[in-house]
């Protein structure tokens, strides 16, 4: 029996605002001493009240715009009520029926459009760690802004899911709103997976949600595992249970989490402590105007403006830091190199970045260009011609020879420069140096 795979995805992205979603505690919780970033609001003390973070809301709208969504005119927050030790108020402030953004899409490389059902804001829960017979709770993370992005069940296989996730991660990093690091937990995902018999139009009557996937590698593995597990069940004429399963990276399988007898009743109702939000068109255009150039647009522009291949352009625009470095290097060549012989082409810069491991934190674009220039190109000069030029240079610079012989070995750099000037072109520095040294030893 052949089955068609149907996957929908729910992704949570943690925003890197300075303060939390509903209070002014620092949102930078990673690696901090436990319970040092809390206040009455995010600790859920009696009497505390939430006030929404303007920047977080703007960034959520910006994410929605980058995903081609419609932005709501009127929106509000709602309470999602349930009990868990990591939820200090006994409810999470989230959005239910009036999210900030909806009905967007992302296009994959195979031309498929993945529908974005909604993009909304909520607050993160505290961090639970387990130690023997106890669980320990750190509320530093409680209240950090989270954006939830939900797709239509449009994915047909694990590869599409991975591509979507990489694109989403790239967009969110480009926007500068999140580090979207799966290992650190600033990007979390939950696929829901079901199988449909190939020749039916009916949607499957169940879906399985998978949690606890924290790297791209595991996304593929978990989905493949689930597909296999579900098809085996279906093959034996049974239906997989609708449930939530956790990915176990040690055992390499998904495992059933405590089965719930009935679906959780979250008793959503409008958050009475936060007045509704009303966006006007000019505010929404302002947010869009502040949006940095997105990966797709940058890619197209690199193809057009710099004549790069698609392969090169893709690599250069994969991360915004790379693209930025590339364009700054081009700027250096344009504005600071006057000698046409020392021209460095975009293609050369691209090659260097792509093929060598450049640490953008350790080298400035200027230093980088200098390195390229100094490395030079293949010498367009014969050995005889080079020796002739060296002879001329050395004749003119007797004193330099004496200095060198007297121990001032760095005078060789001066001589290299003279050789290049005489040759009227860039030459391989190493080659000149070696040849000069041979001469000077005589």
């Amino acid at each position: 029996m052949k089955y068609r795979t149907i996957i929908g995805l729910e992704v949570h992205v943690e925003l890197k605002t300075k303060s939390k979603m509903f209070c002014s505690c620092s949102a930078d919780y990673f690696g901090k001493k436990p319970n040092t970033h809390t206040c009455p609001v995010c600790l859920g003390l009696p009497g505390a009240l939430p006030v929404p973070n303007k920047k977080a809301i703007d960034w959520c709208v910006m994410i929605g715009q980058a995903l081609n969504c419609e932005i709501a005119d009127v929106s509000k927050f709602d309470r999602k009520n349930y009990f868990y030790p990591d939820l200090p108020k006994g409810y999470q402030i989230s959005q239910y029926d009036q999210p900030f953004c909806k009905k967007g899409f992302i296009e994959l490389s195979n031309g498929k459009k993945i529908g974005i059902t909604r993009v909304h804001m909520e607050e993160d829960t505290a961090k639970l760690t387990h130690q023997g017979e106890s669980s320990l709770v750190d509320f530093n993370r409680s209240g950090v802004p989270l954006v939830e992005i939900v797709t239509e069940p449009d994915f047909g296989n694990a590869k599409e899911v991975v591509e979507y996730l990489k694109k989403l991660q790239q967009i969110v990093r480009y926007l500068g709103v999140s580090d979207a690091n799966m290992e650190r937990g600033d990007m979390r995902l939950e696929p829901n997976i079901s199988l449909q018999e190939e020749n039916t139009k009916e949607l499957p009557k169940y879906k399985v949600e998978v949690k606890n996937i924290n790297s791209f590698r595991f996304v593929e593995k978990a989905i493949e595992y689930e597909i296999k597990r579900q098809s085996e069940i279906l093959n034996s004429k049974e239906m997989p249970i609708q449930e939530t399963r956790g990915w176990n990276e040690i055992k390499n399988k998904t495992m059933s989490q405590r089965t719930k007898e009935e679906a959780q009743d979250y008793r959503y109702f409008p958050e009475p402590d936060i007045p509704p939000l009303h966006f006007n068109r000019s505010e929404i255009s302002n947010i869009k105007a502040q949006m940095p150039e997105l990966p797709n647009a940058k890619f197209e522009r690199f193809l057009k403006d710099y004549g790069l291949t698609e392969y090169d352009a893709e690599i250069l625009t994969r991360e915004v830091e790379t693209a930025k470095f590339f364009e700054e290097a081009i700027g250096i060549v344009k504005n600071q190199i006057k000698n046409p012989d020392l021209e460095v082409s975009p293609k050369t810069i691209a090659n260097w970045i792509i093929n060598k491991k450049i640490d953008f934190n350790r080298i400035s674009p200027y230093e980088f260009i200098k390195q390229i220039i100094l490395a030079g190109q293949v010498p367009l000069i014969t050995e005889i011609e080079l020796e002739k030029i060296i002879g001329i240079v050395l004749n003119r610079n007797q004193k330099a020879i004496e200095d060198y012989k007297n121990g001032k070995t760095n005078v060789i750099m001066f001589l290299i420069g003279r050789v290049m000037k005489e040759a009227k072109q860039k030459l391989d520095v190493k080659l000149i140096k070696e040849t000069l040294e041979n001469y000077l030893k005589k």
Partner: protein, 115 residues
């Protein structure tokens, strides 16, 4: 307006019940579980009776025609109340954990949650 002084409450309620033909049974154990409220066996009956009476009373709202009426969830008429993304000093760790009976190395401690 309801006439509490001249009619006993229970009579009023059964009048209401008959006139609206409602069954007002509330599943107390289920609701108590949802509300994370531990309830003793002997309490269930008492609460069932009391809650059913109250629910019977509020059923009168069914009489009101609210077909084209917008709901009011914010009586102030306020909109767009937000704050700037600034940091204000937090409570210290000692202050944060000062009110719990169970803590360990600055973390709140609870019985293990079975996943």
């Amino acid at each position: 307006m309801t006439n509490w002084k001249t009619k006993p409450v229970y009579q009023l309620l059964s009048d209401l019940a008959l006139s609206y033909n409602i069954s007002m049974k509330i599943d107390v154990p289920r609701v108590a579980k949802l509300a994370n409220l531990p309830l003793r066996q002997e309490e269930k009956g008492k609460f069932e009776k009391q809650l059913s009476e109250i629910l019977a009373y509020v059923e009168k709202l069914k009489k009101v025609d609210t077909k084209n009426v917008e709901i009011t969830s914010q009586v102030t008429g306020l909109e767009n109340i937000k704050r700037e993304d600034k940091i204000i000093p937090s409570l210290s760790q000692e202050e944060a954990i000062s009110q719990t009976k169970s803590q360990h190395n600055g973390l709140f401690k609870v019985k293990a949650i079975l996943e």
